[in-house]
Symmetry: none
Subunit: 208 residues, 4 copies
DNA sequence: AATGAATGAGAGTTCATTCAT
DNA sequence: AATGAATGAACTCTCATTCAT
């Protein structure tokens, strides 16, 4: 009981610290200070800064995985399904900003930790299945173009959602617009749906 | 002459180092080692790691600013102009990956350096002007919807282009697809154009 | 039964670990890991790293003591008796290398543990008795010089035998000869006998 | 000027510390505390504890090498030459006890540092040359047996001299005799000469 | 008789920076 | 204008040991 709670306490604080400062910028001392335990306990439970970071990453990925798996799109039209998936991703990323910041950090590190994690790799790659089915249905009905696959769609949706969080500060600094301003949220949430549906229902211009 | 070259040498190496490891992960010693001068010279010319990083950032932003300014869209239809701008951004980001990695790093730091740089802020915010004109034309002709402004369009274009570079490693690790694979480039380049034109020419679904 | 075996298991593993890495270099965690029990049990049975080390040392000294006691030299000529004792010591040290390594380690620690052990001190100092009798016989017959006592002889024999084990690695590194190479063993075994007999049967040169 | 002195200061203190506690038992903090500089300087000059230890070892070996090289034996009879060499080794080891303690420590570490040192390996292996010439002369005159080579003789001499220092504490603890007691020194110094000359001038017993 | 969970103190090492010329 | 030598502060991590049952 105590054990589990202490580990979770460490993970919570570590998530915030790594999200706030990146891997290299995060301080084990700082994590310990914000925890109810000591630095020694971090090493007792997680062995090293790298392994702690990996544990943080795995928990964050497990969470978005659960969100993706729980989206119900079976009864929706292909277009509405796509919009629903896009909105769910947008909602997750904007309400769990630490996830995106961890992903940015992990990319700085060339995904070296992620590649070591069988769970993340297996579970998250399979999450693309729902999208594949929706697109197959849309292509079958003639609603969707057939030259853009599920991974491309996932890429566009993620790109839009990620950008709001990952580039929030530089965007705000340069243009004076905070993309995560609650007042903008409804419009941005609608726009991602429009964008993805419009893209899939238009005819490709290139090479035409 | 020699002085200028030494400074540029330092900037080149520092750009690579900061892009490779982020701000906190970058090592002044390592930068010095890869330079033809010594660590002492870095401090002589740039005063601190922070200031060196800012100089690197300013030079990187100056470059993309030049690209955006040089896009010629006056004679193109609004849709083609949009597509051209999107492709130029995509081209820049994918061929200057260090820029995106610096931007990711700067966002981890909550844009603290960028906010200190009058040049970056002034020049880059003005770069939105070209886009504003194109959209105004498209809205006037009735080709474009009028509820999405230039900043939104810039955001969508940037999101798409940035994602390819910023999230390359995690995407590749999870899905086994390298978004920067040259073989994928033509399709991805076309897709960003389709995406942005389709989005601007469709009717908004939300709230309708 | 089980208890005794567990303690012996710990002692066996600890002997190997202390012999391999010295006292300061040995790790209680490592000893525990190579044992069928846990680290907690080491403290349960041996109280501390120091006490465990002392137990290891005592067992090792008890063993060589038994060897020395069992040498049968009563019917041999003084010279042959000396040779037999020298060979027995050589055989023991070269076939129980961990003993010598423990002794080296204990000397690094200025024999601080050994001085705390009444058993080692009492039993091992009495082991010199056999040698005293042999030398007394040799001196009486006029075969041996009378200005070298049993402790000196023990010292020379031990020095030769210990050196093979204690300095094996530096000697091999510098000269490329492994003193414990089985092929060299017969010659080295003969040489220690020659050396000790020749020394005791020669006339002292010094001061003469 | 200052630099050289600081480095030597560190080396002197480190030699004492490593000799006193072995490699694993030595503390960088302790070395720093006994130095006129700080711990940081140790790392500045020597990079790591391992490298500092190697530097200590190299200097210690360089010293004995110089002693061995300076022994003048050309005009002496083979037997006297052998005795002179043996006494020189005995003198060096007993007056530079830290050397022997470092060698013991290095053997605990399986000569891992020494094997990395080209200087030690090259210079010290060549030191056997003087001994080879003396033995060749003695064999030629018929004074020496011909089945014991220079390395064997070096081994016997070293074994005797090393034992006095390396096993001093256990020997003293068990037998109550301090082998390095100045009062014993003349006898011990004579004995090593007797031992090595007697061994080389006697006829081998083995296999006879 | 036996043990899983927890830990205080200190280890070696690294980092951006400044001193002094 | 340019630089080699030096450094304080902080970092990640380890180790023998004890708490609590």
């Amino acid at each position: 009981m105590t054990t589990i709670t202490t580990q979770q306490d460490i993970l919570d604080v570590a998530t915030a610290e790594f999200a706030a400062h990146g891997f290299a910028g995060a301080r084990v001392d700082e994590i310990a200070a914000r925890t109810r335990t000591t630095k020694r306990m971090i090493y007792y439970y997680f062995a090293s800064k790298d392994d702690l970071y990996l544990a943080v990453l795995e928990r964050a990925y497990a969470h978005i995985r659960a969100v993706e798996r729980d989206v119900r799109v079976a009864e929706l039209s292909p277009a509405d399904a796509l919009r629903t998936i896009a909105e769910a991703t947008y909602d997750h990323h904007t309400t769990h900003q630490e996830f995106m910041r961890l992903v940015s950090t992990e990319n700085i590190l060339r995904a070296q930790h992620l590649r070591r994690s069988p769970t993340i790799l297996a579970e998250n790659s399979s999450a693309i299945g729902v999208l594949e089915q929706v697109i197959a249905r849309g292509v079958a009905t003639g609603d969707f173009r057939d030259d853009v696959d599920a991974l491309d769609v996932h890429m566009m949706i993620s790109a839009y959602a990620c950008f709001h969080v990952a580039n929030r500060h530089t965007f705000d600094a340069i243009f004076g617009r905070d993309m995560l301003d609650p007042a903008l949220q409804p419009a941005h949430r609608a726009l991602i749906g429009d964008m993805i549906v419009a893209t899939m229902t238009c005819r490709a211009r290139t090479g035409g």
